[in-house]
């Protein structure tokens, strides 16, 4: 049997259950794919031997009559999740060689359900970025190529760029991602796959390297809405080790996938029309609305008045929390420690050792953000910046609460552009604009999903985003499934194993 690596999780599970192939054969096909397309840079630490061993164990369990939801399914794990005995770097030099002695709660849940881990996926350093060009371990390449410039390497988006690239190139059946301001949804859109950011608190953050704790949320990335639903069912759940993990039962996320959208009300927020957005993105958005209308949904225009305040507020809240979270990297307890500078035998002070370690261990974008964070939290500026941003955040959350009194889901484009070239990457604030459509939902903590809905005129995938009520992932996935069915997106990337 060939091309097992191209199966969806649902199809692979069915094939495994029927005995059409073994978990070892399925995993071997992914390992071969990872070898063939290693130039994508999707993995920081591939673990093929551990994967094949785990696949054998899955086959043995199946023979023994065990049946768990992901038994023998090969997945990639974003290198932000701590994995016991396997290096976890957060794509930073400062964590090079860090081998956790514990397993994150989300990956523990996936292992409980029988998943096979293929290795640790590349990302932007500490998940800070939208292009996967800030990793200490090299850029990730998008497996898609544009029609006009097929030789130009494109970014996969970020920060979960390795996850998106690996899923799109068929190196794994699904992957974990994390989303702080769009880090699941934006790369999913750039790589033509489906990515779900659950409601804040739905998945435990314990054991995930922290970026901005009031925003960080783990979620699935896969090649169908159904596969995301299956993965979320395993990833989600209460965890006493995360004080913000919510103690509500995990429903069957696949239960209502075929329920359709008849009678549902979908909102199109008028503020998501931004200057300079390509006409084809606007067209795809309207086309997606029409697809939902054709299936019986009522589509109405709504207003989310504080949409454009979300990004500036995010660039206060996220760096502030990052500066606090990243204070732990000091060269004392784990990771990289710098040598004394300029051939001196000793540091002049302990603080000098910390600052030299951090100056050498963190990349430029991380340094920028923790300096911004330290500045907006400093005496005299805390109220003007940090508290102001948190007040604006209340307004953003209120916009969504009011919108969901009128509509069941909100439809928007995922990104204001298709994937761009690694060498034509925008800088600074312009780069931040990538997340203009994804950040508002992060600030409000509500769930969002991006799915591929069409191709740009240059042959690159474009995503649309659906946003739902807090903890109504079941309802969100139901609308997403309808949209996926109508869009019928079957295009595949040029680089595919």
């Amino acid at each position: 049997m060939t091309d097992l690596n191209r199966l969806t999780i649902a199809a692979a599970s069915a094939g495994l259950a029927k005995g059409e192939f073994s978990a070892r054969e399925l995993t071997q096909s992914c390992v071969d794919a990872m070898d063939a397309l290693s130039d994508l840079g999707a993995f920081i630490t591939p673990t093929p031997d551990l994967a094949l061993e785990a696949a054998d164990q899955a086959d043995a369990k199946r023979k023994g009559g065990e049946d768990v939801p992901l038994l023998g399914i090969p997945l990639g794990i974003k290198d932000l999740f701590c994995t016991e005995g396997v290096q976890t770097t957060a794509a930073s030099k400062i964590l090079q060689g860090f081998v956790p002695t514990y397993e994150s709660s989300v990956t523990t849940n996936l292992l409980r359900d029988g998943a096979v881990f293929l290795g640790k996926l590349n990302l932007d350093e500490f998940a800070m970025g939208s292009s996967n060009t800030t990793s200490y371990y090299g850029n990730v390449v998008n497996p898609w190529q544009s029609a006009s410039k097929p030789d130009m390497q494109l970014v996969p988006g970020g920060s979960s760029g390795g996850s998106a690239s690996a899923v799109a190139a068929r190196l794994c059946l699904g992957a974990t991602g994390t989303d702080t301001g769009g880090s699941i949804r934006q790369p999913a859109a750039f790589c033509g796959i489906t990515g779900l950011k659950p409601t804040y608190g739905r998945c435990s953050r314990w054991g995930i390297v922290a970026f901005a704790s009031s925003l960080d949320q783990a979620g699935p990335m896969a090649r169908s809405v159904e596969d995301c639903a299956i993965l979320l069912g395993s990833m989600a759940g209460f965890d006493a080790k995360d004080t913000t993990a919510v103690d509500t039962p995990v429903p069957d996320y696949t239960a209502e996938l075929s329920a359709g959208v008849k009678g549902l009300k979908i909102g199109l927020p008028r503020e998501y029309r931004v200057d300079g957005m390509p006409a084809e993105i606007e067209q795809l958005w309207q086309q997606s609305a029409q697809w939902l209308r054709d299936q019986g949904a009522e589509v109405v225009e709504i207003s989310l008045p504080h949409t454009h305040s979300a990004l500036p507020a995010y660039y206060i809240v996220a760096p502030a929390e990052a500066s606090s979270n990243l204070a732990r990297y000091d060269g004392v307890r784990y990771g990289f420690r710098a040598d004394a500078p300029d051939g001196l035998p000793e540091f002049s002070s302990l603080e000098d050792m910390y600052a030299t370690t951090r100056g050498e261990g963190f990349g430029a974008e991380v340094q920028r953000r923790i300096m911004i964070g330290a500045y907006v939290l400093s005496a005299g500026y805390y109220d003007a910046y940090y508290n102001k941003a948190r007040r604006v955040r209340s307004l953003i959350a209120r916009d969504f609460t009011e919108a969901f009194e009128q509509v069941d889901a909100i439809l928007t484009p995922t990104t204001p552009s298709a994937a761009f070239g690694i060498t034509e990457e925008p800088s600074g604030v312009e780069m931040y604009m990538n997340d203009v459509f994804t950040v508002p939902a992060s600030m409000a903590g509500i769930p969002g999903i991006s799915l591929p809905a069409g191709l740009s005129s240059d042959g690159l995938p474009l995503g649309v985003q659906l946003l739902g009520r807090p903890f109504d992932e079941v309802g969100l996935l139901r609308v997403a499934q309808s949209l996926e069915d109508a869009a019928g997106f079957t295009a595949t990337p040029q680089l595919m194993a």
Binding site: A240, F347, S349, M353
Partner: protein, 95 residues
């Protein structure tokens, strides 16, 4: 708001970062651009809005104040750059 070299030095000190002299002007420009971008928030009236502290409205859970883990020096020190017996070690410094 325009960030000066001195402010860069202060932020670097607060963030415990050694920043090369040659990078300070560049950083001043980059930080100014970010702070200039976020300044648009000042146009929003938030006088009657409380800062958002939790998106899920959760209250802190209570637990028994009891020791639940410990006595695992090997697991805790496994990644230490340097150690002496069961302690983290730091380089000798001249204070």
């Amino acid at each position: 708001m325009s960030i000066t070299r001195e402010t860069v030095e202060q932020a670097a000190r607060l963030a415990r970062l050694t920043v090369a002299d040659a990078d300070k002007d560049r950083l001043a420009g980059e930080l100014s651009a970010i702070l200039g971008f976020v300044e648009q928030l000042n146009a929003i009236d938030t006088s009657d809005v409380e800062p958002l502290t939790s998106v899920v409205g959760a209250t802190a859970r209570m637990r028994k104040d009891a020791v639940t883990a410990g006595d695992e020096p090997e697991r805790i020190l496994a990644n230490a750059p340097d150690r002496v017996t069961d302690f983290y070690a730091v380089p000798k410094v001249v204070e």
